[in-house]
């Protein structure tokens, strides 16, 4: 279980961006999680709550977007989906994919910034 340390890195990164943007709090965070990132989405979601407590991210919504595996198919000569995470072969022609191009993401893609601290 390394999702708690991932969640802490996420909170640090977003807090940094929030300060740079001059905002007060975070309403939501969008994160892409590749199926080959080594991170379990459900575990990251449950780790986010304790990691965000008493930070500008407390109460923010964390939206995780799963990214399937894609790679270069030498037969099709194009980027193709993999059959599954257990079979990194072209979903169209079943040739083994030469290189994984997507599916390793663990990226913050967007944050929703609230500018003024409002009284609860």
């Amino acid at each position: 279980m390394h999702e708690l340390s991932i969640a802490q890195s996420l909170v640090e990164l977003v807090t940094e961006r929030l300060r740079a943007a001059g905002g007060a709090r975070i309403a939501s965070v969008d994160v892409e999680v590749g199926v080959l990132s080594g991170v379990v989405p459900a575990a990251l979601l449950s780790a986010f709550e304790p990691a965000s407590r008493q930070t500008p991210l407390e109460g923010a919504q964390l939206r995780l977007h799963e990214v399937p595996v894609k790679g270069h198919c030498p037969t099709c000569g194009a980027e193709r989906d993999a059959v599954s995470v257990q079979r990194i072969h072209c979903a169209v022609c079943d040739t083994p994919l030469a290189a994984v191009t997507r599916g390793r993401e663990l990226d913050v893609i967007a944050i929703e910034v609230i500018d003024e601290a409002t009284d609860a």
Binding site: S9, R17, G38, R87, P96, L106, D107, I109, A110
Partner: protein, 225 residues
């Protein structure tokens, strides 16, 4: 006031990635070839590594870092090889991160080394997310673990550069389905090089060392020898 949406597009582990990049540059500048080892607990990482150290130490300058949750048993076993070994106690952390490697290296003179080995914590999940600055990531699978491990833990096999099947001497007793294991590894990491060894009987170790030295020579042509 209405919240505003900001595009960010940043790796969550960017700090780890940065430290790993700096480490890799440092390794390259020193001409040291760095190998990390990952596997489940009990797959034979330490035995395999000890054997590798013993054989390689005859002709090369080597050192090792060992990650362990709480004990220094593995470091003590590796030190039997006579090679300098440093322990990284991770405490409750289930994996090594680049900054732990950086701290453990301290002021070690990397330019006086040909190879550095980093034994990760026994874990097939968490280490896969963290770049340690290594040149080669080696995943071990023992014949006693079951041939479907690569399908259960595809990420770690997919991020590895080479796979080593250990305890080949026990393959028959464990009813290890070699063909199924090889197929599973090729499915999750097409084209992965697979080596088969038995540290106990010493088989496969020459092929592994030849593979390792070829990889090191390709990375640092000037330092090869």
């Amino acid at each position: 006031m209405k919240p505003r949406m900001l595009e960010v597009r940043t790796r969550i582990l960017k700090e780890n990635d940065q430290v790993a990049r700096v480490l890799r540059d440092r390794f390259d500048a020193a001409g040291v070839f760095v190998v990390s080892l990952v596997s489940s607990p009990g797959a034979g990482k330490t035995t395999f590594l000890r054997d590798t150290l013993c054989r390689l130490a005859r002709t090369h300058r080597i050192a090792a870092l060992v990650g362990d949750l709480a004990t220094d048993n593995d470091a003590a076993r590796l030190a039997e090889s006579g090679v300098p070994v440093r322990q990284i106690v991770t405490g409750t952390v289930c994996h090594l991160e680049a900054k732990m490697v950086e701290e453990a290296l301290g002021h070690w003179r990397l330019d006086q080394l040909d190879y550095l080995f980093i034994e990760n914590v026994g874990n097939l999940v968490c280490p896969s997310s963290y770049d340690l600055g290594e040149h080669l990531r080696l995943v071990l699978l023992s014949t006693t673990e079951g041939e479907d491990k690569p399908l259960k833990y595809p990420t770690i096999f997919n991020t590895a550069d080479v796979a080593v099947v250990t305890k080949m001497d026990l393959a028959e007793a464990a009813e290890f389905d070699r063909a199924a294991a090889l197929a599973a590894m090729q499915q999750v990491r097409p084209g992965i090089e697979v080596l088969e060894v038995s540290a106990k009987k010493g088989t496969g170790m020459d092929a592994w060392l030849a593979f390792l030295q070829a990889r090191a020579a390709a990375r640092h042509p000037a330092a090869a020898g």
